[in-house]
Each structure stands twice: as structure tokens, then as C-alpha cells.
């Protein structure tokens, strides 16, 4: 019998996978996609709690998270275009401007 914990486990797994993507990947576009994955995991737990507590407010929160994700993707991709135009690259390893010159490898 599938209950609330099953949905929460899926939500946690999505979040952790997204987190691994953010840490592991070096391509900014994939990092942004992994952030979307994390947002989706959180959203799933909002909706699952909403369903099993019988409270519609969780779905309202999920709705706002989707709005936020749309805004974030638009601005994030615009920033990626700018970075690519200036550097010709979207690798996070190339973005080391704030690194200390003395200790830079």
C-alpha cells in the first residue's frame, strides 16, 4: 500500500540526485537543470503533504515554486548566454575571477 512515506522517499531521492548534479557537473546548463530537479523534488513533497494532510495550502506552495522555477530558468539561461558570449565557454572551471591570484593553481 503506497502511502505518504513512499512519495517522500521519491522526493528526497530527486533532491539528492539534483544536488549531486549541482556538485558533480561542470557544465553550467546541466547545473541549472539539476537545480530544476531539486525544485521538483521539493515540490513533490509539498504536494504529497498537501494530499495526506488534507490541506490545499501545500498545493498553493507548489504552484508558487513552479512560478519561481520559470523565472529562475529564464534569468539563469540569460546569464549563461552572457557568460558564453564573454568567455566562449560554459564550464564552471573557467569561472575563477574571484579566486586569489597568489594561491591560484
Amino acid at each position: 500500500m503506497v502511502e505518504l512515506p513512499h512519495f517522500l522517499i521519491v522526493s528526497v531521492a530527486l533532491f539528492v540526485l539534483g544536488f549531486v548534479g549541482v556538485i558533480l557537473r561542470r557544465n553550467l546548463i546541466v547545473v541549472l537543470m539539476s537545480i530544476e530537479l531539486m525544485l521538483n523534488g521539493v515540490n513533490l513533497s509539498f504536494v504529497a503533504f498537501s494530499r495526506y494532510l488534507g490541506d490545499i495550502q501545500g498545493q498553493v506552495a507548489g504552484f508558487f515554486v513552479i512560478v519561481l522555477a520559470a523565472a529562475e530558468a529564464a534569468v539563469g539561461l540569460a546569464i549563461i548566454i552572457l557568460i558564453f558570449r564573454r568567455r566562449g565557454s560554459v564550464q564552471t572551471t573557467r569561472l575563477t575571477d574571484l579566486k586569489d591570484e597568489i594561491h591560484a593553481a
Binding site: 512515506p5 530527486l14 539528492v16 558533480l24 537543470m33 504536494v47 494530499r51 494532510l53
Partner: protein, 169 residues
């Protein structure tokens, strides 16, 4: 095992496998396509949770708008083969990261295990658009308006950022 359970395991399995695909596939185009599958599966889970409106919105905005934007940007940037080649971590780093992720998963799963919410309080027409709309437009009017402003600001911001000759170089 009821139909609900079978559907849950199908959607959950697809979501997790394709989420893995997003993270591990070396080509961003494959990542984007895996992400579409993940988002559709999560929309299916939303349907199982009686969140019909959210499931539709998920498909419309994520799969319809955001993913098209992602694929469009990947095509536009026209990354070279060198760009597609990721800088690989050492084996030790990968092992440590995997260990950290597993520990995080077990910790969070334990927290989930502690939740003591059971039963099925949902009523007929729980997540349909009229219920959700009434809640949003009675208790969440101001956040709703702020969300509208946020979307406008991000739209203008994205256009201004990506505009070609914004700065004279």
C-alpha cells in the same frame, strides 16, 4: 497491489531513472531529454496525489516552456566537442561524493520514516482548479500578485541581459 500502487511504482521508477540520466549523461541534450521524462513522471505523481491542476501546469510550464528554453540555449551556444567533454573528478572525489549523497539520502529517509501521518483525509474534488483557485484568490492574493511582478521582472531582466549590443566593448 492496487492500480494506484502499480502506477506509483511506474512513475517513481521512471522519475528516478531519468533523473539519474540528467546527472550522468555527458551530452547536455540527453540531459535535457531525460529531464523532460522526469518532469512528466513527476506530473504523473501529482495526478496520483489529486493535484490535477498542478500536474497540468507542470507539463505546460516545465516541459512546454522551460525545457524548450533549455534545448534552444544548448543549440544556440553550439558547444564544441571540447566543451562537451567534462572535466572529470578523480575516483576518490567521486567515491566521497557518492558516499555523502548516500548518507544524505539515508538521513532524509530516516526523517521521512519518523513522519506519523497516515490515513486518507482527501475529499472529492480536492486538488481541482476551483478549490485551488479559491484558496489562492482568498488567502494568497498578495503572494499571487508578487509572483506576477516577479515574472514580469524576470522577463524584462532576461531580455535586457541577453540583448546583443547592450554594452559598447
Amino acid at each position: 497491489m492496487s492500480g494506484f500502487d502499480i502506477l506509483f511504482f511506474v512513475f517513481a521508477g521512471f522519475a528516478l531513472v531519468s533523473a539519474m540520466g540528467v546527472v550522468v549523461s555527458p551530452n547536455p541534450v540527453y540531459s535535457a531529454l531525460s529531464l523532460v521524462l522526469t518532469l512528466f513522471s513527476v506530473a504523473g505523481l501529482f495526478l496520483l496525489l489529486q493535484a490535477e491542476f498542478l500536474a497540468v501546469v507542470q507539463v505546460l510550464t516545465y516541459a512546454g516552456a522551460i525545457l524548450v528554453l533549455f534545448v534552444f540555449i544548448i543549440m544556440l551556444l553550439n558547444l564544441s566537442d571540447f566543451e562537451l567533454m567534462e572535466v572529470r573528478m578523480g575516483n576518490l572525489g567521486k567515491a566521497l561524493l557518492t558516499l555523502a549523497a548516500v548518507v544524505a539520502f539515508i538521513t532524509l529517509a530516516f526523517v521521512v520514516h519518523l513522519t506519523r501521518i497516515t490515513g486518507d483525509p482527501a475529499v472529492e474534488g480536492f486538488g481541482d482548479i476551483s478549490t485551488l483557485g479559491r484558496e489562492i484568490f482568498t488567502h494568497y492574493v498578495i503572494p499571487f500578485e508578487i509572483a506576477g511582478v516577479l515574472l514580469t521582472v524576470s522577463l524584462i531582466g532576461a531580455v535586457m541581459l541577453a540583448k546583443k549590443n547592450l554594452t559598447k566593448e
